[in-house]
């Protein structure tokens, strides 16, 4: 799904998510407006079967990524070893029907190399999750800090940050990433580079939402009280603001993970992502496009994996947003 769209929608509902510190809950007990984050997750999983399905998908693929080595050991292949015996000698295509799917090779093999496609997809999940999560962490972390600073401190800091965020939002970051990918020496760890670059460009949308949230929070009495009692901005941020930001931040994070995974796949598709032979869904999809007419299975498996992860995170994120935003109508 389109991440920008999701973020706009959460921005729209964000001011309504009034919340959640223990002392506040007492006063709001009678209204259904707000819930704690764990309670919201529990309720959304209980009520919203799409969110549940998304969560299951994400958890399953997450486990696959974590236990990639175990799974490929069970199957008996790794994603790096060439195996000419799995290929048809007259064409270099996978031997057997549907891309060579068999008990030996669960997802078939790559044409021309005979590498096991199941191993490639499973290890590709590891690449995708690592980069997706880490880049999200970077962008959300930066976004929360910068956004809270802008909202709470105000003045020229706010103006500079808002202006920078506008510039970054309009920045052709994909072109920039391609350029960076092309000039950084190969010795530099690729995964780290992708995490930093993808994560860095994600901060402005988070920062905007957090800033808006903080602007309303800072006029609330418990924040004013803390300030009057002499709390430093950092203390106010940690003890008063942050606990009230978890809801929207979690929604944003969930909704931005698939975007980051998709971006990694896009960069690998364009040849500037993770380097071979590290498996990557994007690179596999890129290679498979040439083969789609004669070996559609090659495109199908990495494509399905990317689709499933993207859909899973979006379904979960949508459900969470519905649960944390009392005004939206929840799907059943």
């Amino acid at each position: 799904m389109d991440v920008a769209d999701a973020l706009t929608r959460s921005a729209y509902c964000a001011p309504r998510q009034i919340i959640i510190t223990p002392e506040k809950q007492v006063t709001q007990l009678s209204t259904p407006v707000a819930r704690s984050v764990p309670a919201a997750i529990r309720s959304v999983l209980a009520r919203d079967r799409w969110a549940l399905a998304g969560t299951v998908t994400v958890v399953v693929i997450g486990l696959v990524a974590i236990f990639a080595d175990v799974l490929t050991a069970i199957e008996g292949h790794d994603p790096y070893t060439y195996d000419a015996t799995a290929l048809a000698p007259e064409s270099g295509l996978p031997a057997g029907s549907f891309g060579g799917v068999s008990g030996e090779h669960w997802f078939g093999v790559e044409p021309l190399t005979g590498r096991d496609l199941f191993a490639i997809v499973v290890h590709g999940a590891r690449t995708s999750f690592l980069i997706g999560f880490a880049a999200t962490l970077v962008s959300i972390g930066l976004g929360v800090l910068i956004g809270a600073a802008a909202g709470y401190l105000g003045g020229w800091i706010d103006r500079v940050i808002t202006w920078s965020a506008d510039v970054f939002l309009g920045f052709p970051y994909l072109v920039f990433m391609i350029a960076i990918g092309a000039v950084v020496p190969v010795e530099f760890p690729r995964a780290l580079l992708l995490i930093v670059v993808i994560g860095f460009f994600g901060w402005p949308s988070t920062a905007r939402i957090v800033r808006a949230q903080v602007l309303t929070l800072k006029e609330r009495n418990f924040v004013k009280a803390a300030r009057v009692l002499g709390a430093s901005p950092w203390q106010v941020f940690r003890t008063e603001l942050l606990p009230n930001l978890w809801g929207p931040v979690l929604v944003m994070a969930t909704l931005s993970v698939p975007g980051k995974i998709g971006l990694e796949a896009a960069l690998s598709f364009l040849g500037v992502g993770v380097l071979p032979p590290t498996p990557s869904w994007g690179r596999s999809i890129s290679a498979a496009i040439d083969w789609v007419r004669v070996d559609p299975a090659y495109l199908l498996f990495p494509g399905l994996a990317l689709f499933a992860v993207t859909w899973g995170f979006n379904a979960l994120g949508d459900g969470l947003r519905d649960a944390l935003d009392p005004r939206s109508v929840t799907r059943r």
Partner: protein, 556 residues
């Protein structure tokens, strides 16, 4: 010497002269319909540049450069016959002293596209111009032989004394030593005429003065080059160019796989087009189910030797034991499959530097093992050399075009079996040149490339890749191999005018070099090309493994 790594350049820029009259060719894989005069031929090129500057060109005598520029001599090639050197601007040269002094006489009445006569002084100017540092990167077989060690080109006001032009039609070359293959050298791009005094500007290739059947009409950088007829070219005075189409359009920067698909579909303008890049393995596999497209694919019988270059001047590959380990570590069978899907389409596995079909070639294998390689033996050799845990972090650089990345991954996986860890860097053609053969102190460890001899002699297999003089400065000794004994033997073999005797000497050099293992020969590549249904006389002769652009025409 077009190497495959150069493919982009060679293909796009190919030049050449080909053979003789269109009428006596027996095109392989072509329809019986003979092309007529007229029409627009489209050449779809993967490269973003088309170099029409003779001084900077690596093109073969029968490809793109040959459409615009003639040379002193040309090539006649046909299926089933050895390539011959034939007259082009001049005769094929005469020597009176055993190959040291060569005299060429130009035909009467030759004119440039601007109407001025082509004289021997213009040919001399063209050769001198190739010595200018600003116009480097072209084939340089002539440079040493003409004694141009310190010569910096004609733009500094000095002439090259080894070239004399006693009259407007005669040109005499005095070489530093006897050289039997000189008539072939006279067919390389630098021997195309450039009007005396012109061509000082870096973008000369965009408006080069033509001597061949076509001249540049428009040159749009990175997009398209249109050639129109050169009305001052007379077919009767040119036996290597048919000059059939009225116009030739090079479309640049075309993705190879997209181009193959377009040509397989064969609709509209693509019917009169062919691709200068190879048909990719994925496309070859798909075309098996498309009889129309399959009939329009032409595959060469043999071609370049594909090899892995080992940087002999950089640790740890400066150790001969380490380099020999690579001979066993590679998996030539996997390389074949990665190249074209099957061994039959990819070409035979290679163990010598001299390519198939070259006079004097001896088949031998100093490092015998299965086509899949022998990782255990490689590990043992590495352990002997003091690397019991293998090698880490070697960088393998390659030119992106023609599916090279897939092939490099096959090499990477094969080397990993012997605990040799390699990182691949795929570069565009220009960046690749900058980092490899133009760099004085390159950082690469390995290069994947291939080499097609520039003329059918073992000399052209060996000297450009292994002579000390070819290291850096645009030379193709990418293994940076320097062995005084080999240099001496190369000179000796070059001076041998009798082909059979020279052939024996080259075979001995081949073995001697491989003992030092500066490169790992992988396969003798076969090249497959695809054309549109209205492109006629599109054939690949025994040499070289590229179609002859100069004979191609449009059928009605």
């Amino acid at each position: 010497m077009s190497s495959k790594k150069l493919l982009a350049i060679v293909l796009a820029g190919a030049l050449g002269v080909s053979a003789c009259g269109a009428n006596d060719q027996k095109p392989s894989g072509d329809t019986a319909v003979k092309p007529g005069k007229g029409g627009t031929l489209r050449i779809l090129s993967e490269s973003r540049t088309l170099n029409l500057d003779p001084a900077k060109s690596q093109s073969l005598a029968i490809t793109s450069l040959g459409l615009v520029h003639r040379r002193l001599t040309g090539w006649q090639n046909a299926v089933g016959q050895p390539a011959k050197v034939v007259p082009d601007l001049s005769d094929t040269g005469k020597t009176s002293d055993g190959g040291k002094t060569w005299t060429f006489v130009l035909q009467d009445g030759l004119k440039f596209s601007d109407g001025t006569p082509i004289t021997s002084a213009d040919v001399k100017w063209g050769v001198e111009r190739s010595f200018a540092p600003a116009f480097g990167g072209g084939l340089g077989y002539h440079k040493d032989l003409l004694g141009g060690g310190d010569y910096k080109g004609p733009f500094e006001g000095k002439e090259l004394d080894s070239i004399k032009t006693p009259d407007e039609k005669t040109i005499v070359f005095t070489l530093t030593r006897p050289y039997g293959d000189w008539p072939w050298i006279a067919s390389t791009p630098a021997f195309a005429p450039v009007p005396k005094g012109k061509g000082a500007e870096a973008d000369y290739h965009e408006h080069a003065v033509a001597s061949g059947p076509y001249q540049v009409e428009t040159y749009t950088k990175g997009v398209e080059v249109k050639l129109k007829r050169n009305t001052n070219w007379e077919p009767a005075k040119d036996q290597v160019r048919a000059g059939l189409p009225d116009a030739v359009v090079f479309q640049l920067g075309q993705e190879a796989s997209v181009v193959s698909q377009r040509l397989a579909a064969d609709s509209g303008d693509d019917q009169t087009a062919f691709a200068s890049s190879f048909v990719s393995p994925a496309q070859l596999a798909q075309l098996q189910g498309n009889p129309s497209a399959k009939s329009r694919v032409v595959t060469s019988k043999s071609g370049a030797v594909a090899f892995l270059s080992l940087n002999t001047q950089k640790a740890p590959l400066n150790n001969v034991k380490v380099r020999q380990a690579f001979q066993y570590a590679v998996n030539k069978a996997a390389y074949q499959v990665a190249s074209a899907g099957t061994a039959a389409l990819a070409g035979d596995t290679a163990s010598t530097l001299i390519t198939q079909g070259i006079e004097g070639r001896e088949q031998f294998d100093l490092y015998p093992s299965k086509p899949e390689g022998d990782p255990d033996k490689a590990k043992a050799l590495l352990a002997e050399a003091g690397f019991p845990n293998g090698l880490e972090n070697l960088s393998l650089v390659l030119n992106k075009s023609n599916n090279q990345t897939d092939k490099a991954e096959a090499i990477q996986a094969a080397l990993a079996r012997a605990n040799i860890k390699v990182t691949i860097r795929s570069l565009e053609a220009d960046a690749f040149e900058t980092e490899t053969n133009l760099s004085d102190n390159p950082t690469y460890d390995l290069i994947l490339s291939s080499w097609q001899p520039d003329f059918p002699s073992a000399n052209s297999n060996i000297q450009p890749l292994f002579a000390t003089s070819e290291i850096g400065k645009g030379g193709y000794n990418t293994s940076r191999y320097s062995n005084p004994e080999v240099d001496r033997l190369i000179e000796e073999a070059q001076s041998t005018v009798d082909p059979a005797e020279a052939g024996k000497k080259w075979a001995a050099i081949d073995k001697l070099i491989l003992q030092d293992s500066p490169v790992v020969p992988l396969i003798y590549t076969r090249n497959s090309f695809i054309r549109g249904s209205k492109v006629g006389n599109f054939y690949i002769a025994d040499f070289p493994a590229y179609p002859n652009y100069l004979q191609v025409g449009i059928t009605k």
